[in-house]
Symmetry: C2
Subunit: 381 residues, 2 copies
């Protein structure tokens, strides 16, 4: 008998551990979600004292496959160069956890999941979720793994937002927190780019008000346009100049047509096309919405948000990141200082734009590695 998950879930069977939460999950919207599944991967061994657990949090379009090759795309895990035996986040020493966020499409409950109450995919009937909801689901996973306190929570971009949310919501469960290339709130420019992406998806007739799972036709064109627009914000002007300039694609003259003449066009089209094979359009709507709602100041001040938090912080930004520029990290650093927290901050010189946090940045590795060793030593791990 075919699995009911079959046509909707992009995750191949058995490619991930999946926890089904026994209790309903309360959401920031006031709604409650039953039968929530959290898909996750772990690497290394939890020590007897349960003091060596590190949670790493993924960005908007990534997932729990931080280390091994991706089961859908076959590409290397997004932090494969940072996490593993003998690596900076050393799985011979630490127990590392990464879970697919709530709203995602790699096994954790999201709009493409089957609603247990109806036996059909949620689509837009899934309540709109928040970063707080994502982290609440992660905390249930940490409970399930028998871990009281996390040695560190580490992540970049939306992963960094989850780190900030962990430290705000679970101040006693986080010993150290490293939010990288991130912000404590979405700016109007951030919201504007996401809104363009959402409108691109919703403009695709195949989207069908989110009810496309059973038609077999997915809103791939709209999602590809959304991805293309977002992708520009991940790269710096410098890196585009260095990588592509005005170089032409396979021709020494422009073609006087609407084909991809320039290499940068061809590159962007590829980014759009390949994205739709591994991502669900409704998940893109839900997760971008959660990011736009993200604002840790919560009507008071960011300093107040962190007054109860005794975690050690490392913040890092990249000079050419114009999505979450250094000014956003400085804003967080000032608030943490005001609350008396232990904060390190470094702005890394890089021409790679926002994506630098995923790439080969030796200065960043040195800083993160040194900080983590110091945290571990302090905790006797």
């Amino acid at each position: 008998m075919p699995s009911t998950r079959e046509p909707y879930c992009l995750l191949p069977d058995g490619a991930s551990d999946v926890l089904t939460l026994t209790d309903p999950l309360p959401l920031d919207s006031g709604e409650t979600l039953s039968g929530v599944q959290v898909a996750y991967r772990t690497w290394g061994q939890l020590n007897a004292a349960k003091s060596n657990a590190i949670m790493i949090c993924h960005a908007l379009t990534a997932d729990q496959f931080a280390v091994e090759d991706h089961p859908v795309t076959g590409k290397p895990g997004w932090w494969q160069h940072l996490v593993g035996p003998g690596k900076l986040i050393d799985t011979d020493r630490y127990f590392v956890i990464c879970s697919n966020v709530l709203g995602g499409c790699m096994g954790t409950t999201g709009p493409s999941s089957i609603n247990p109450a109806t036996g059909k995919p949620y689509g837009l009937s899934l309540p709109v979720i928040t970063l707080g909801d994502m982290v609440r689901a992660q905390a249930r996973l940490v409970d399930h793994l028998g871990i009281d306190r996390l040695l560190a929570v580490i992540g970049g971009s939306m992963g960094g937002m989850q780190v900030l949310q962990w430290a705000a919501d679970y101040p006693d469960r986080v010993i150290a927190a490293a939010p990288i290339a991130t912000a404590s709130r979405h700016t109007p420019q951030n919201i504007a780019f996401h809104e363009v992406g959402r409108q691109a998806v919703m403009a695709d007739p195949a989207w069908a008000d989110g009810d496309y799972y059973e038609t077999g036709i997915r809103p791939e064109k709209g999602l590809a346009v959304a991805r293309m627009a977002a992708h520009i914000t991940y790269l710096s002007e410098n890196s585009l100049n260095r990588k592509f300039g005005r170089n032409l694609q396979e021709r020494d003259k422009v073609g006087f047509s609407f084909d991809a003449d320039f290499q940068v066009e061809s590159y962007l089209r590829y980014q759009g096309r390949s994205f739709v094979d591994r991502f669900d359009a409704n998940s893109y709507l839900y997760i971008t919405r959660a990011m736009d709602y993200f604002d840790l100041a919560r009507g008071t001040t960011l300093a107040d948000t962190y007054r109860a938090c005794k975690a050690r912080f490392l913040l890092a930004s990249f000079t050419t990141d114009w999505l979450y520029p250094t000014v956003e990290s400085r804003h967080i650093v000032r608030a943490l200082h005001a609350g008396g927290a232990d904060v390190s901050f470094v702005e890394i010189e890089s021409d790679k734009g926002h994506d630098a946090f995923l790439l080969d940045e030796p200065e960043f590795f040195d800083v993160l590695g040194g900080w983590l060793k110091s945290v571990a030593a302090e905790q006797g791990v």
Copy 2:
């Protein structure tokens, strides 16, 4: 009998002068276009010496209605505050010309025009055009008006590109040139944003390979998404923060839905929606393509391009313009200096982003006004 132009042309009958070129227009692609129409407006009187003519050039989505209220939208002309009797570009003193660019949709030949050879709209059968082609058509209009030399050519953004093209292609016909908030070539980031817009249009099934004029259904959703993406690049982060911040739309709490919660979303959606009423989707493809092809260095150097040009130049950039930032103007200034040209350059402090060139910027007005007076005095106008 209904006019064959009726369903395709957005320009109301009689709202513009229209010149039909008697000779075919050669294009940079190698093709030739017959029966080209150039829709234009003029203000003021050409003097007996024909020495007081100023050409102003419009940006990507603007048109010849620089001064009077727009015949489709009813909104004020885009440089109404700069051009008119007693104004900075004084129509009591100068004869001012503005024409809709080739490829446009306000009466000049573009993809929505009827191909005289077939009696049907061109659609994508119109050859791909360039900034050089646009300016060549303008030069024919200037010929028709009996003008040998233009006192000044002035424009911002793509208008500035036309100014640069005029000075490069017709060095003896341009006494003074003011390219504002512009660049001498499209960077890969510029191309990338345009490509997102084009893909958004082309992803709309109503686009129908450009053949939508006779269906009565236009690719409005795709074009609206394209406009939204582009609009973000016209505004600075500062102006978005000042205008919208994270302010919510008609609610004191987020709605936990995909409606426009934030004011910036509602604003962008409005920009997209209203744009489609006044602009043709295929024109958007053709004109963005022309801009992406724009590169005045032409395989040699920009300095070489301008070696024959004796025009006086004024360049102005705006501090928060990240579409065509100051570095692009400086690049042009250096090249002009290398060719020995008479160049003034000013970077205007403004938080309004690229759109500053269309807005109330007193420092810019002072600079442009002073420069134009000096040019006119030098020429005895």
